[in-house]
Amino acid sequence: MLEIRSARKVFYKGQADEKVALDGLDLSLATGEFGVVIGSNGAGKSSMLNAISGALVLDTGQIVINGDDVTATPVHKRATRLARVFQDPMRGTAASMTVAENMLLAELRSNKRTLRRGLNATRLSAYKDRLSLLGLGLENRLDTRVELLSGGQRQSLSLIMAVGGSPELLLLDEHTAALDPRTADIVMQATIRAVEALKLTTLMVTHNMQHAVDFGHKVIMLDAGRVRLEIDGKDKAQTTVPDLIGHFSVKTDRMFLAS
């Protein structure tokens, strides 16, 4: 389904503050698989998601989605295949537009946009139904501008928008990190429900080790721009939070030794 082949990206190449973001990263995800990506800050998690979505152009390496090499495909064309929820609720929605208009934009992500009326009665009632699943009352605020919603409501809307068209690949970029614990829980539960119901191939970046243990089919730990550890299957079921944190500390100890 998703395959990243020896992806490499260097920032500020040839300068004093040269930074290797991705260092020959290899990763693959089967169709319907839910991968959870962990790693310390600067390990290359965001760079990896940006490379998949097309926002970051690789120096070398390939991104393959469903057998098609999309390495040279621009962001807006890749968007027909993948959907992304950002950490910042502001980034995933158009603030000055209404809830319904945002839903429309998401629905048209993988379709051709025509010169027909955008928001018609059929669509509005469909959006009402989909938003009511969240239980946040958004279904009654279709004409509200998104900037008037709370961060949690905006993020829930982003999620509904992302899973709406059953994308081939769903990217979740620490999408609950900016929310309060209760709202984060609501959004996370909604995410799991949607991913399981629609059998979405998902890649979720998180700093929450409990989430990494509880959810997903495999845990991928990134370090210094490459995959350091992959735990799946039976091992994944037996992994605990302290185990994962242990892997972080091993790395830290090595860093101490190296320095």
């Binding site: 807006h76 537009m97 934009l105 025509t114």
Partner: protein
């Protein structure tokens, strides 16, 4: 009392002429509003696209072309000018305002080249205003009817467009370009097309103006931008900008009210040279108002524009 009566008398006698003029200039205001509000792309091209439309139309009319095809070609010229500004910004990552200044400076020379001299009289050539049914050509009434009809058609076409699937996508590019791109919208295409459309409207305003006044002049765009901006601010203050309908109505309402205001100031004896200063101060006041209103409390999020 005498002064007041005189002022009002001369103002009222100017109302039809001013109304005709303002309906034509409403297109320029529209050409300023679309990039600024719909695309968050502050665009200065109109200062060059307006005389461009005028010059192209003037030359073609002098060559004997029909007034409608002259406007159509002026429209295309303005569209290309707008596209260039957007392209300069997108391709070379030059600030939108600087891209606009570059474009309007270059257009000045281009306009001179097109006309071959600094002004051109097309007085007596047939114009679209001759076609107003049942009205004597050359009078303000025919201009009001023709320009008003065109304005009405353009308004409804745009109102329909911005609510279609494509139109919603264009507005999303203005609201949040990153999000728009992530939703599969081609940001380049929408920006270039949108700013091009705005240039086309500015040029159409210039072409209509030339047909209305009977001559084209390379300097006819001088200060048009700040006038248009003032008109837009007034329009938004009157009808608001919360919905597509209101945002689209603002340029037309604003243009009509603004030029009547200017006419009133002139009738009241304000020296014409002071007009630009007054307009500039007015725009400044309108832009400063929100920050003056809230002298206490946290600063609200600045309106995001592309840079």
């Amino acid at each position: 009392m005498d002064i007041l009566q005189n002022t009002i008398a001369s103002f009222v006698s100017l109302v039809p002429v001013t109304l005709a003029q303002s309906l034509i200039l409403a297109f320029v205001v529209l050409g300023i509003m679309i990039p600024f509000r719909m695309l968050s792309f502050p665009d200065l091209t109109s200062e060059g696209a307006f005389p461009l439309g005028g010059c192209v139309c003037g030359v073609l009319m002098a060559a004997g072309m029909s007034p409608l095809s002259a406007i159509a070609i002026a429209l295309v010229a303005g569209f290309i000018a707008g596209c260039c500004t957007a392209f300069i910004h997108l391709r070379f990552r030059i600030h939108t305002l600087l891209a606009g200044i570059l474009m309007m400076t270059m257009l000045y020379s281009i306009n001179l080249r097109i006309m071959g001299r600094s002004n051109l009289s097309v007085f007596g050539a047939p114009t679209v205003f001759d076609w107003a049914p049942g009205l004597q050509p050359g009078f303000p009434a025919s201009k009001i009817v023709v320009a008003g009809l065109i304005a009405l058609v353009v308004f409804f076409l745009l109102y329909h467009f911005f609510r279609t699937e494509k139109g919603t996508a264009v507005r999303a590019v203005g609201a949040n370009p990153d999000m728009a791109e992530a939703q599969g919208i081609n940001v380049w295409l929408a920006t270039i097309g949108g700013v091009g459309l705005a240039g086309a409207f500015s040029a159409a305003g210039g072409a209509l103006m030339v047909q209305s006044q009977g001559f084209a002049d390379v300097n006819m765009g001088l200060g048009i931008l700040i006038n248009g901006l003032a008109a837009l601010m007034i329009g938004e203050a009157i009808v608001g900008k919360q919905s597509v309908l209101r945002q689209l109505a603002a340029p037309f309402v604003g243009a009509i009210v603004y030029y009547q205001l200017v006419s009133f100031c002139l009738a009241a004896g304000m020296p014409p040279p002071d007009l630009k200063l007054a307009t500039g101060l007015f725009v400044l006041a309108m832009l400063a108002l929100p920050s003056l209103k809230r002298s206490r409390g946290p600063a609200p999020a600045r309106e995001t524009v592309r840079e």
